[in-house]
Amino acid sequence: MHDSILNFRSYRYLWVSILLCAGSLTAYLWHDPIGVPNGGSWLGYTLGTIGAVLIVWLLWFGIRKRRYGRAIGTARGWLSAHVYLGTSLILISLLHSGFQVGWNIHTLALVLMLLVIFSGFFGVYAYLRYPALMTRNRASATREAMVAEIRELDAQALQLADKVDKSVHDAILRSIQNTRLGGGLWAQLTAKDDSGQALTRLKEAVTQAATADKQHRSGQTMVVMVDFLANQANDVQSDTLRRLIDLVSRKRALASRVARDIQLQALMEIWLYIHVPLSLALLGALTAHILSVFFYW
C-alpha cells in the first residue's frame, strides 16, 4: 500500500518516458536532414520544443509542491513523473543537438541540465536509502527527546565532576562545550561531539587514582578499570568517577546517534541545494539559448 516514487501506478511514467525516448530515437534515425543533424532542422525544433516544455514543467514542480490545497494529483505522482521524464531529457536534448557540443551558450545549457539531472539521481538514491537508516538509528526516540536527554546527562555529569577535581571538571565542561550538533550545513554533515576526549581524561583520572593506590597496571581498557573500581566500593571518589564514565559513555552513544541523524537528514536535503539553484541557472541558460537561436537566425 505504501509505494515508492519509482513504482507509482505500476511504473506509469517509466513507460511514458520509454515511449517518449523510443519515439524520439526512431524519428531521429528515420529523419534524413540536409547535412549533419542539428537543432536547426524541423526535428531539431520539435525535440527542442519538447525539451524546453519539459524543463519548464520540471521547474513547475517546485511550485506544485507548495500548492497544497488547490493542487491536482498527488505530490508522489508528480515526483514519479518528474524523475522519469526528467531522465528522458538526457536523450531528448542530445538528439535535439545532434550530439554537437562546443564552447558556447548552447552547451552551457546542456551541461547545466546534465548537472541538474545527475544531482536528481543522487536525490532519488538518498530518498530510497536513507529513511530506513534513519529509523534504525533513532531506535524509536525522537531527536528532540535525544537532545533533551543529552542536556540532562551533561548537567548531571557536570554536577558529579564538581565533586572530583578541577581537571576532571574542566574536561567535562570542555566536552560539553565542544559537543556541537546541528548548525550550518557543513556542521550538520560533519557533526561530532567531543565526549571521546573527556572519556580519555576520565580514564586518566581513574588511572591516577589507581597509581596513587600503587596498583597501577598499564594498558588497561575502560572495562577493566570499571571492574577495578568496582572492587573499591568504599572509595567515594572512584565511585563518582565510575558514574561519570557511565554518564559520559551514555552521552557519547546518544550524541553520535543524534549526529548521525542530523547527518542523514542533511544528506537528504543537501543535494537540493545543488539541484534547485542549478535548475534556475538552467532556466537562465535555456532562455539565452533560445533567444540567441532566434536572434541569429
Binding site: M1, H2, D3, S4, I5, F8, I63, K65, R66, R67, Y68, G69, A71, I72, G73, T74, A75, R76, W78, L79, A126, Y127, Y130, P131, A132, M134, T135, S140, T142, R143, E144, E152, Q156, Q265, M268
Partner: protein, 796 residues
C-alpha cells in the same frame, strides 16, 4: 424562612437569584466559593466566552453576551449588587433535608437555614477534594495552580497521583524543589506521557516522591525559614517535610452523591445520566428544582434562561419557555400546524419510543432535532455513509434497501424508528433508506439521542430490543422465516466487554455465538507458546460460529480490542435454526471454510499479527481512518505537516514525528476518526460531528472549553486561535512577503481559541492534503477493514 434558597451561583443560580431580587421575593443565594460563578471564574485568564446557541434569545435580568471572562464576571458582579441580591459567599451547602414547611439546608459544619423552595444550580464541576487533615486551609495550601512559572526557588509539596498533580509537579520542578506525595505505590491513573515524565524525574532525582504515604497534618511555623510543614505517614514511619507551599490536586467529588443525598433520583448508573426533571424544572422531590449543567443543559445561556423561568414557575406564573420561538419556527412549516404544544403532543402520540419521556425532555429533544419532510423517492441516507443521526417516523412510510440491487427491502410504518445501527455501532450505514409518499421524519443528532438513551431506561430498552432483532434478521433472515428468527431473538442477550477481556478461549467448548455490535475483536491463537494475532473483527460481524458448526471446540481465542458489546446467541437456539435451514447451514459452512483458509495464510506470515497487535495498541481498533507513515520512505521533509497547516488555518493537525514506530510503520499523532469519538463526549455546544464519509470534525460553534482536548486519548486536538491573513504563494516566492508555506504564526493577542483537529480535508477537493503532499508515498490513510491486508503486506 426564605421563599427561595438558591444553591450555587453559576449562570443558572445567579440568574434565578437576580430574578427573585427583581421581584422582591425573599431569597438567598448560597455559593461555596468566595466569589460568584466559580466555574467561569476558573476559566483560563482572558478566555473568550461564547454565547451559544446563537439563535436562543436570552431571558434574564443579567446581561450576557460573548466577551472575555473578566468582562462577564465584572458585569454580573455589578448587576448582582445593583439588584440587591442577597448572596452569601463561602457558604457550601452540605445537606438539604425535606421538612414539613419546606427544606432545611446545612451550610458548612454547623450553620442551617430554612427555605420553602430550593433551586439547585451547582453545575457539574463538583467540589474540589480537600486534604481532609488538620491545617488543610492553611494560607500556604492551595488546590489549584494557574501558572507554574509564577513560583521560583521554593520547596513545594504536591499531593496527588493524577495527571493534574503530575503535570504541576513536573512543571514546578524546573524552578523549585518539588516533593510529591502519593498514597499509592505507583501512578496508576496517569496518561502514558505523564507517567514517563514523572518516573524519569524521580529516577533522575529531580523530584522526590513519597510512595504509599499520606498526609497526617499540616502545621504553620513561625520560626525558621519555611512557613509550614507537613507531617506524613510513610511506610517507614512518620516523616516531616518543611515547605513553602503545598499544592493538593486530588480531583473533584462529582456532585451526584450530594444530589442523591438530597433525595433526587437518577435513572441509572451511567455517569452521563441526568436526573429527570419536569417541564417546570422540578425534580422528583417536590419543591426542589434543578437548573443548568446539573440538569443536562451545559451552556451558559440555557442555564440563565432556566434560572429566570424557574423563579416564575415557583411563583405560580406561567411563562412561555425561551425556546418556544425556536420550536415554533421548526414546526410552522408542518402541514396542519396549530400550536407548539399540540405538535409536541402529536409527535408523542405518533412515536411510541417517545411516549414515556417528560415534556421537558421532549422539548429539548425537538430543539436539537430537525423535522424533515423529504420528497417521495429521496434518499435519507445511503448505505456505507458514516452518518450517525437517528430517525423517528412520524407520518408516512420509508423503504429500507438492504443491498445495492434493491431486491431486499423492508417498509417501515409510522411510529417506527431507524438509524439505530450506526448510532450504536459507530460504523457505516448498513442500508439505504428512501422516503415514501408524504413522510414526516424527526432527525436527531447523535449526542441528543445518546443523552436520551442514557436518561430514560424505557427508550434504551426499546432501542436495544429492536437492534437485536434487526441485527439477527440482517445476518440470518434471508434464509430463515420470521418465526424462526423470533425464537433466536428471544434467547439473545447483550454482553459487554472491556478492552482486553476474553470472549472465549481456544480449546474451550463453544456454547454461543457473538454478533459484535460495538467495538472490535482480535482473533488469536497460541503458536509455539506465543499468542499470535490472526485477524481483526470489526463491529457488524460475528464470531464463534465455527465451533457451533463443527467439532464444538473453539479453534481460536477472541478478545475485545477495545470496549466492546456483543449480541450473544446461545448454542441450542442457533443449532435449532441451522437444523431448520439447511441452506443457511451451507452458507455459513462455506464462510467458515474461507475464514480458515485466510487464517492459515496469516499464520504463515505470523509476524503480520505483530503488526496488527501494534496498530491495535495505537487505537486503530476503534479507528475509521488512520494516517500511517512508512518510515522507510519518509524523507522527513515535513511536507505533510506543512500541507495540513497551509490548508487548515495555519496549524498542522498532525504531528509527524511524535508517535511510535514498529517494523517501519509509524503512527503519527493524528486523528483516528474513532467509531465512537471520545472527543464528542462532553462538548457543551455539541460542536463535534461526523460527516457522511466518516470525518470527525469540529464546527464553528466550538466554545473553546478544552474538554475534547482532554478527552481524546490520542492527544490530537489543540486549542488554537485564528492566524493573521497572509499573502499568496508567489508573493512569498518572489518577494519573501509574509510567512512561508506551512508557516503561519498565531495572532499572539487573540484569546479566542477554539479546538482544532484533523477533518480529513473533507472540504478540499482531492482529499487528504497531507497524503497528497507527501512526495515519496510514505504517508497513506487506511481504514480498519484494510488492516489485515495492510499488516500482511508490511510484515517484517
Amino acid at each position: 424562612m426564605f421563599e427561595i434558597a438558591i444553591v450555587g451561583s453559576g449562570p443558572g443560580g445567579i440568574s434565578a437569584a437576580a430574578r427573585a431580587a427583581e421581584l422582591k421575593v425573599p431569597h438567598i443565594l448560597l455559593e461555596g466559593a468566595l466569589h460568584l460563578s466559580n466555574t467561569i471564574y476558573r476559566y483560563q485568564k482572558g478566555k473568550h466566552v461564547m454565547a451559544e446557541p446563537e439563535a436562543l434569545p436570552l431571558r434574564s435580568p443579567l446581561k450576557f453576551q460573548a466577551g472575555s471572562r473578566e468582562s462577564i464576571l465584572e458585569s454580573w458582579d455589578q448587576d448582582v449588587a445593583k439588584l440587591g441580591v442577597n448572596v452569601r459567599h463561602g457558604a457550601e451547602v452540605t445537606a438539604i433535608k425535606k421538612t414539613d414547611a419546606g427544606f432545611e439546608l446545612s451550610i458548612g459544619r454547623n450553620d442551617k437555614i430554612q427555605a420553602r423552595n430550593v433551586i439547585l444550580g451547582i453545575g457539574l464541576q463538583g467540589n474540589i477534594r480537600k486534604l481532609g487533615v488538620a491545617g488543610e486551609d492553611a494560607p500556604f495550601v492551595q488546590y489549584t495552580l494557574d501558572d507554574p512559572d509564577e513560583y521560583e526557588g521554593e520547596t513545594i509539596i504536591v499531593v496527588g497521583a493524577g495527571d493534574a498533580a503530575i503535570e504541576n509537579a513536573v512543571a514546578l520542578a524546573k524552578q523549585n524543589q518539588v516533593v510529591v506525595v502519593n498514597r499509592r505505590e505507583e501512578f496508576a491513573r496517569a496518561k502514558e506521557g505523564n507517567l514517563r515524565a514523572i518516573q524519569k524525574a524521580i529516577e533522575d532525582g529531580v523530584i522526590e516522591c513519597f510512595f504509599g504515604s499520606a498526609p497526617e497534618r499540616i502545621d504553620k511555623l513561625t520560626v525558621g525559614k519555611k512557613p509550614g510543614r507537613m507531617i506524613l505517614n510513610t511506610p517507614k514511619g512518620r516523616a516531616q517535610v518543611l515547605c513553602d507551599r503545598i499544592i493538593a490536586r486530588l480531583g473533584a467529588n462529582p456532585p451526584r452523591t450530594f444530589v442523591e443525598a438530597c433525595g433526587v433520583k437518577f435513572p441509572n448508573d451511567d455517569p452521563a445520566a441526568v436526573p429527570a426533571i419536569s417541564e417546570k424544572y422540578e425534580s422528583n422531590v417536590p419543591g426542589l428544582y434543578i437548573v443548568g449543567a446539573l440538569g443536562g443543559y451545559p451552556l451558559i445561556k440555557q442555564a440563565m434562561n432556566q434560572g429566570y423561568e424557574v423563579v416564575e414557575y415557583i411563583l405560580g406564573r406561567s411563562v412561555e419557555p425561551a425556546d418556544e420561538p425556536l420550536l415554533r419556527a421548526k414546526f410552522e412549516s408542518m402541514p396542519g400546524f396549530k400550536s407548539v404544544n399540540a405538535t409536541l403532543q402529536k409527535i408523542q402520540n405518533a412515536v411510541p419510543l417517545l411516549a414515556t419521556i417528560t415534556p421537558l425532555q421532549l422539548r429539548e429533544f425537538m430543539i436539537d432535532s430537525t423535522l424533515l419532510a423529504p420528497k417521495s423517492g429521496e434518499a435519507i441516507f445511503k448505505r456505507n455513509d458514516y452518518t450517525n443521526s437517528f430517525y423517528c417516523l412520524v407520518d408516512g412510510h420509508v423503504e429500507v434497501l438492504m443491498d445495492d440491487s434493491g431486491d431486499k427491502r423492508v417498509v417501515l410504518n409510522p411510529g417506527e424508528f431507524f438509524g439505530e445501527m450506526s448510532l450504536i455501532s459507530g460504523r457505516r450505514r448498513t442500508a439505504t433508506v428512501v422516503a415514501g409518499k408524504s413522510c414526516v421524519l424527526i432527525e436527531t443528532p447523535r449526542r441528543s439521542m445518546k443523552r436520551l438513551i442514557n436518561s430514560v431506561d424505557a427508550v434504551k430498552k426499546m432501542i436495544d430490543q429492536v437492534f437485536v432483532e434487526r441485527a439477527i434478521r440482517a445476518r440470518f433472515g434471508e434464509e430463515a422465516t420470521a418465526v424462526q428468527i423470533r425464537d433466536v431473538v428471544k434467547g439473545a442477550t447483550l454482553q459487554r466487554f472491556k478492552a482486553g477481556d476474553v470472549l472465549f478461549r481456544e480449546g474451550e467448548d463453544g456454547d454461543c455465538l457473538h454478533l459484535v455490535r460495538v467495538g472490535s475483536l482480535t482473533i488469536s491463537r497460541q503458536i509455539a507458546g506465543r499468542e499470535i494475532v490472526l485477524s481483526y473483527v470489526p463491529a457488524g460481524n460475528y464470531v464463534g460460529e465455527m465451533a457451533l458448526l463443527g467439532g464444538g471446540k473453539r479453534s481460536a481465542t477472541a478478545k475485545a480490542a477495545i470496549a466492546t458489546e456483543t449480541i450473544r446467541v446461545e448454542r441450542d437456539a442457533f443449532r435449532k435454526l441451522l437444523a431448520q435451514n439447511p441452506m443457511l447451514r451451507m452458507k455459513l459452512a462455506n464462510e467458515v471454510k474461507q475464514r480458515t483458509a485466510e487464517n492459515i495464510t496469516t499464520q504463515a506470515g505470523a509476524s503480520s499479527g505483530d503488526v496488527i497487535s501494534f496498530l491495535i495498541g495505537q487505537g486503530v481498533g476503534e479507528a475509521t481512518d488512520v494516517l500511517l507513515i512508512d518510515e522507510s520512505l519518509c524523507v522527513r521533509c515535513d511536507n505533510c505537516e506543512k500541507a495540513c497547516a497551509e490548508t487548515h488555518g495555519g496549524t498542522s493537525r498532525l504531528d509527524r514525528e511524535a508517535g511510535p514506530t514498529f517494523a517501519n510503520v509509524h503512527v503519527p499523532t493524528s486523528c483516528r476518526h474513532c467509531e465512537h469519538p471520545h472527543c464528542m463526549k462532553d462538548c457543551p455546544p455539541d460542536a463535534i460531528h461526523r460527516a457522511p464519509n466518516g470525518e470527525v470534525f469540529i464546527a464553528d460553534n466550538c466554545i473553546g472549553c478544552g474538554n475534547c482536548e482532554r478527552n481524546c486519548p490520542y492527544g490530537v486536538i489543540h486549542m488554537a486561535a485564528k492566524p493573521k491573513k497572509k499573502p499568496g504563494l508567489l508573493q512569498w516566492l518572489l518577494f519573501g512577503a509574509g510567512p512561508g508555506p506551512g508557516e503561519s504564526p498565531y495572532d499572539p493577542d487573540s484569546h479566542e481559541k477554539k479546538a482544532v483537529k484533523c477533518d480529513m480535508c473533507k472540504d478540499i477537493k482531492g482529499g487528504a492534503a497531507c497524503v497528497r503532499a507527501c512526495p515519496t508515498g510514505a504517508a497513506i490513510r487506511i481504514s480498519p477493514e484494510q488492516l489485515p491486508e495492510y499488516a500482511y503486506a508490511r510484515a517484517p
